[in-house]
Amino acid sequence: MDLDVRAGEVHVLFGENGAGKSTLINIICGALPPSSGQIFIDGKPVTFRSVQDARHAGVSVVYQEFSLAPDMTVEENLFLANEKRGWSGLLQKKAMRTTALQHFQRLGFHISPDALVGSLSRAECQMVEIAKAALTEPRILILDEPTASLTEAETTQLFELIRGLKRSGVGVIYISHRISEIQQIGDRVTVMRDGRHIATVGASETDRKQLVELMTGRSFGGFYPEIQFSPTETLLTVSSLSTVNGKVRDASLTVRRGEIVGLAGLVGCGKSEIGRACFGVEPRAGGAIQLGDIDLSHATPRDFIQSGVAYVTNDRIHEGMLLCRSVRENISLASLKSPTLLRSGMLSRKAEKRESFDMAKRMSLAPLDIERTAQGFSGGNMQKALLGRFLAREPQLLILDEPTVGIDVNAKAEIYAVLEQLVSAGMAVLLISSDLPEVLSLSNRVYVVREGLIVDELTGDKRTEENALSGFFVKE
């Protein structure tokens, strides 16, 4: 694997899930030792035995899996392993506070330094992670999917920051699965596959299609499928829903069989909470939820599952996968009570194996080894397995929260294909996503959410980025 980064450029690393991007990053920053090969900085060979070494050499990283301690405050995390100390070795808390406030101001992030990281949303964590990496004024800044949970506004702000750093001569390595971003910010692109260098190309002279071909090694058709919707009767009816935590206020929406309904909005606008409330996870303060004729306003997640609702979380690590169990068990978990698997009170392990394998195949899981533990799979494949778990129950309504965060184009396309298939079979899908093009292209109708309120509904030709964005922000 070869990679060179020039001062003042944004070098994009691009590749499928599991291509080895994060692993490469971990080697560059000293978290993992290389088996062979060399790293040079300013032409001089360096060896990093620890993250600390790399940091002294000016390498700092925004990790894909955040390097934040949830029980500590934002400020403590910001300065972790980089504390300001006085002559006595004691911490200079005042100085750190001042720096933290200035730093956030410069970055335009609105986060209290005193907040516990554990209480922040994923997006806010992402901001803290970025702020932390930028704090040390690095010479090489590595960003591993920094925008995975950010929406347009934050992303724009981040890009401003990156451009600023570029001007001051910082070399940036940027990893993203969002192709549009690559063209917006990238100078050169290195494509990786199976841990190998495939090609390095200029960002401006390569188009979307070429990139995807380089990445996957095969040609690729249209990215978003053109789904033909033929919605039938209304399945989910949410009226005047509000949640106890105030994140959702007076939300009303409907989802019909045979259509995908999207929820779009800024980070922290409460769209996740709408989805979670529609599954009984988020405590409800008022309003009603109906599935067909059944009233599910007071139902628990279990009731929802039994009435045919499935919810696929946006946090597959913490709320989704049984990491230390096999994929077989992961897929069958929600459907152990189905008559095919349960025979006179006992599990039919043969049937389970068969069903799980079929489902894995249908989701094109890779590798197709259902006895492997889930933690051995890449994020995209975990997502597929998770989706498989709920599809195995053949739900009527599928609630998807950020189903494609952090997964590669290939896997995305496969998931889209599955969605298309499901919808044509008459399933209702509620799709929550921060990836605006994705929601807009996939959904039949899109609700725009702002501060817990549903402010707009976009259908047909009105599903454009301009319309959505105008709904995101309060009109002055």
């Binding site: 599952i305 068990e329 069958s332």
Partner: protein, 340 residues
């Protein structure tokens, strides 16, 4: 980080089985046990004599039973510190009830024994229920909850027994539950075998096993997948408590007296140590029953063998500690080598 890296993609149909993956799937426990038996067998031929193996199996039954219970709890991500005092309370209750029944009608021995056994097992289940409710409904961490019930149960056992051992239990009780043999196999081994088999079925062939593993592996995910987490947690603790109850009754039969001191700290620590050495994860979700059984035998055999070799008891303590640490350390290193 277990056995993840074997890249062999075995589809269920394909029958290509690699030695490496077999080794990985067997784990360290059988090898460790084998090594121990070979070592002791060489050092002291009497270790592998029939009489000693007979003793060894019978001695290990009680630890095996308690380990199975501990294992169930560990799978769900909990820990049970109350196994020891649960045994004590069960023992005292069983003996007290038996004496009381015999006091009413000294002739009805079988009846008294039966009622006493049932009360004992129910007592165990009750302690389990108490733990389970605390953990599942009141969200007290298992460590604290079972630490509390450790205290409460042992206080109750002392209170009921007044500190005396309750003796004069009918012979029949000891015979049927501890000293008889069936086809040359001591009965406690049979009981332990039944418990192990039933637990195996529970864990591998019913939904509940899946749910226990799921809860321990990822509690939130289990809940979001429609698993009744609270109910299943309570169930796990009740099953574990029942098993401990059976163990307590069997121990009472073995000692033929109700003892408030039965099941001290050693039982707690040994039951946890046996599970850990068998590769059960303290964070839940991982572990194999058969390895746990071997772990319990390993721990019993270690001290049985050292007794045969006449190792000084102070030295025994030191060696047991060292073996525990070294076994786990080697397993870790093997593991991380494999992951490279």
């Amino acid at each position: 980080m277990s056995g993840v890296s074997t890249q062999t993609q075995v589809a269920p149909a394909s029958q290509g089985v690699s030695w490496r993956s077999i080794a990985a799937s067997i784990g360290m426990m059988p090898l460790l046990l084998l090594a121990l038996i070979v070592l002791f067998g060489l050092l002291e031929p009497r270790f592998v004599s029939e009489a000693n193996l007979f003793n060894l199996t019978r001695q290990s039954t009680y630890l095996i039973i308690v380990c199975v219970a501990q294992f169930l709890i560990l799978i769900t991500g909990g820990i049970d510190l109350s196994v020891g005092s649960n045994v004590a309370l069960v023992s005292v209750v069983t003996a007290t009830v038996m004496k009381y029944m015999l006091g009413i009608d000294p002739e009805a021995v079988s009846w008294a024994v039966t009622v006493a056994i049932v009360s004992g097992v129910l007592t165990g289940a009750g302690v389990g229920l108490f733990n389970g409710l605390g953990v599942a409904l009141f969200r007290v961490t298992p460590f604290v909850m079972t630490l509390g019930s450790l205290s409460i149960a042992s206080g109750l056992a002392l209170y009921i027994s007044g500190g005396y051992s309750i003796s004069g239990l009918p012979e029949q009780f000891g015979n049927v539950l501890a000293y008889d043999s069936v086809y040359g196999i001591p009965v406690p081994i049979l009981y332990a075998a039944v418990i192990v088999v039933l637990t195996y079925v529970l864990l591998s062939w019913t939904r509940f096993g899946r749910y226990f593993y799921a809860i321990g592996s990822n509690f939130k995910a289990a809940r979001l997948s429609g698993v009744r987490t609270s109910l299943n947690q309570v169930f796990a603790y009740v099953v574990a408590g029942t098993i401990v109850g059976i163990g307590g009754v069997l121990l009472t039969a073995r000692t033929e007296s109700g003892e408030a001191t039965l099941g001290g700290t050693d039982l707690i620590l040994n039951s946890i140590a046996a599970c850990l050495i068998a590769g059960v994860s303290l964070t839940g979700g991982r572990g194999l029953l058969r390895n746990v059984v071997m772990g319990a035998i390993f721990i019993t055999a270690l001290s049985n063998g050292m007794n045969l070799l006449r190792v000084n008891s102070y030295l025994q303590t030191i060696i047991i500690g060292a073996v525990l640490v070294i076994a786990i350390a080697v397993d870790q290193m093997r593991d991380s080598n494999r992951n490279r």
